[in-house]
Assembly symmetry: C2
DNA sequence: TATTGTTATACTCTATAACTATA
DNA sequence: TATAGTTATAGAGTATAACAATA
């Protein structure tokens, strides 16, 4: 286990990452607001667009309590973007799934997230590959 | 102006950045909670530890409405971590400043933010330099 | 008994609008 | 008149605890 680094270079990188995080969030909230969604609603809609998901599993992915998901899905459902479906295999379970309009909104939302796509255009392909591999190692992702 | 890239490599980097953002936030909230602070309270306390700041300017930095800052500072003040000081130059202004305990808490908080410091230890100095420069170019920061 | 989802409750953060005290 | 800070209000996210339906 390496000791925590406090050298100037590492601190500079940490600060840059903080800037990336701040800018990412800012743009994400903006994009969500452009569709009259909160950040949490946009995140859940994005999840469901990938795959209809039981309430409990949504809570797991959001790392929040299941009781919160009830409200978020309530609000998305009242706007016609999401619907609750029964799970034939387990009658306790409710699967949240996007409606057609919900899928369209999720698509537009994803397309409007320009962050890190526009700026990455400044980098060459070699540089983007380099960045990818550095991030992967930083995150401890398998370099498969 | 470059067109938005949608090639697989760029999308992969975008997703990795999303992962960085998620992990960063998770660790930040955890660190804050370990000191019985919310994320917003921790951020403000961190700001004030750098420099006592008028209410209005705190709102600017947080990119939120000034009315919200009142509540956040209220809660920090009621816990003895922050105090409001008058500004001799302008009697309308209140400058929020950390108490000694507030400074100590901010220090402990900062030290417990291991994210991107531990993982960066995995990288060599050359790699960290590379990562720094790539992030800088991505963020459009002057490579002074 | 354990699990899924919900309800009820309380707290924090958020924006908006109206207010006060200064400038 | 303009600005700094506050209050009041309402909506949303959050955790906790208790509950009904189902497993």
């Amino acid at each position: 286990m390496p000791t925590s680094r406090t050298d100037p270079l590492t601190l500079e990188v940490v600060e840059l990452i903080g800037t990336v995080v701040a800018r990412y969030h800012e743009e994400y909230e903006q994009a969500a607001a452009a569709h009259a969604l909160t950040g949490a609603q946009a995140r859940v809609l994005g999840l469901l667009a990938l795959e209809p998901t039981p309430m409990r599993k949504i809570a797991d992915k959001l790392k929040c309590e299941p009781s919160n998901v009830t409200g978020i899905i309530d609000r998305l459902e009242s706007r016609g973007l999401v619907e609750r479906r029964p799970d034939p295999a387990d009658r306790r379970v409710k699967v949240a799934a996007p409606t057609e309009e919900g899928r369209a909104t999720a698509r537009k939302l994803r397309d409007s997230l320009h962050f890190a796509r526009e700026p990455l255009g400044e980098l060459t392909e070699v540089e983007r590959t380099l960045l990818r591999d550095l991030l992967k190692r930083m995150l401890g992702v398998e370099t498969a």
